[in-house]
């Protein structure tokens, strides 16, 4: 009986979050008419993206340059170095498999830290969006769309403005509610300008600003 009540409360809470998140949106029957072919901001064929980055985690603060290089098949290499050139981490993200750690500075090599980084970068790089067909939610008035993907007990909601195929923001939900959010700033013409990632229940923020001229 106790489990039943607890289960009902959890169901109500998680269900409530989902409704609030997609308020005003209706699922497109059979996902027809989606007209959105989601494209990662980092998939452009420019060789690499150089971002000034800062990671603010618990009591630690790391700042430096983030190199994001698209590889074949929706995979990405992400290298983070300090301004004075010391490498902090070198990671490879491939769809459907665990992050490949090519290098991680000893002081930062913590399993929990790596797990969060893995989730955050997959969310931002959109490595998993090619795995399954999404549920498409449409705002009939504005034409804006939300694409909902499920992976490993998480639900990722990518928001696209009408006519756009690169997301404006994405929110990740777990079984107990909101987990993380990323906001993308840029334009179709000039590409990505900046990305902000934040978490709802812990102090873990990543900010990245595009650097040009290198």
């Amino acid at each position: 009986m106790r489990n039943l009540i607890l289960g009902s409360v959890l169901l109500f809470l998680t269900g409530g979050c989902s409704v609030a998140l997609v308020d005003g949106y209706r699922q497109v029957p059979g996902n027809t008419g989606s007209q959105v072919s989601p494209v990662s901001w980092f998939s452009a064929d420019t060789g690499h993206f150089l971002m000034a980055a800062r990671i603010d985690v618990m009591k630690n603060y790391f700042t430096g340059l983030m190199v994001i290089k698209p590889l074949e098949g929706n995979s990405y290499r992400v290298v983070f170095i300090t301004e004075v050139g010391l490498k902090i981490m070198d990671l490879e993200f491939n769809p459907g498999s665990a992050v490949k750690v090519l290098y991680m500075m000893d002081a930062m090599n913590r399993k929990s830290f790596l797990k969060i980084l893995d989730r955050d970068f997959r969310l931002v790089l959109m490595t998993e969006t090619g795995q399954d067909s999404p549920v498409v939610l449409l705002d009939q008035t504005s034409g804006d769309r939300i694409l909902k993907y499920k992976q490993k007990g998480l639900r990722d909601y990518y928001y696209f403005q009408a006519g756009g195929n690169r997301p404006s923001w994405v929110r990740q939900m777990g079984s107990l509610g909101k987990k993380a959010r990323a906001e993308f700033y840029g334009s179709e013409k000039t590409g990505i300008d900046s990305v902000k990632i934040s978490h709802y229940h812990m102090k873990f923020r990543i900010g990245m600003f595009r650097v040009t001229g290198n």
């Binding site: 060789g47 800062r54 700042t63 290298v79 170095i81 301004e83 050139g85 010391l86 001229g213």
Partner: protein, 214 residues
């Protein structure tokens, strides 16, 4: 025609490789104690260094080299200021155990002791610039070389942990004044960071305000 083109390409590659090799003095330094004595004497009389710097970061993941430029200031005993002006503005001031960072979108001050990575980086960078890293013989296997222009020292970290971060550190000292003219930090996999100090001015008056956190 194709043969000629191949020969030309091979010749260019060989010339570039040779050029890269000739930059490293290969003659063993005959009188190491005399060099260390002169270096210590210079270090004792040194009050300030002001210099421009050019930093090159080679990452195997990228086909091009990342280049940054800026101004460097050192004031005895433990005041360091790196101001990057290209490709974007970034300022780091190390004042004893305090670190101040100013970048686009904000500034931050924190204690180096609270951040293991910064603590090690601070000790390492200032040790290279002052040259007193050569006194850490228990931590590095040190070899000394020379040519007509420079004294050249290679440091291979003894500890496995440190070697995971840096395979070898190379420091060039000017023969004229025993100051550091170049630092190259080599990582596993061929990645490296090279910092060239140019237009050096020694023992000029650098106001303390330059190292203040504003």
């Amino acid at each position: 025609m194709n043969m000629n083109r191949s020969c030309l390409i091979i010749s260019i590659v060989l010339m570039l490789s040779l050029e890269a090799f000739t930059q490293v003095p290969t003659s063993l330094l005959k009188d190491v104690p005399a060099f260390k004595k002169s270096l210590n004497s210079m270090s004792a009389s040194l009050t300030t260094i002001q210099s421009d710097f050019i930093q090159e970061k080679k990452l195997s993941v990228l086909s091009n080299t990342l280049v940054s430029k800026g101004d460097f200031c050192y004031r005895k005993e433990n005041l360091i200021r790196w101001e990057y002006v290209q490709p974007y503005r970034y300022l780091i001031i190390i004042n004893g155990d305090k670190i101040y960072i100013k970048e686009e979108g904000g500034q931050r001050q924190f204690d180096a002791q609270s951040n293991k990575m910064f603590q090690e980086m601070n000790r390492f960078i200032s040790g290279c610039i002052r040259g007193d890293i050569l006194n850490h013989e228990a931590e590095y296997k040190i070899r000394y070389f020379e040519d007509v222009e420079s004294y050249f020292v290679t440091l291979v970290p003894v500890s496995e942990r440190m070697r995971q971060m840096l395979n070898e550190i190379q420091i060039w000292f000017d023969r004229d004044d025993f100051t550091v003219s170049r630092i190259r930090m080599l990582e596993s996999g061929g990645d490296y960071t090279r910092i060239d100090f140019v237009n050096k001015k020694l023992n000029t008056d650098i106001p303390l305000e330059k190292f203040n956190f504003r």
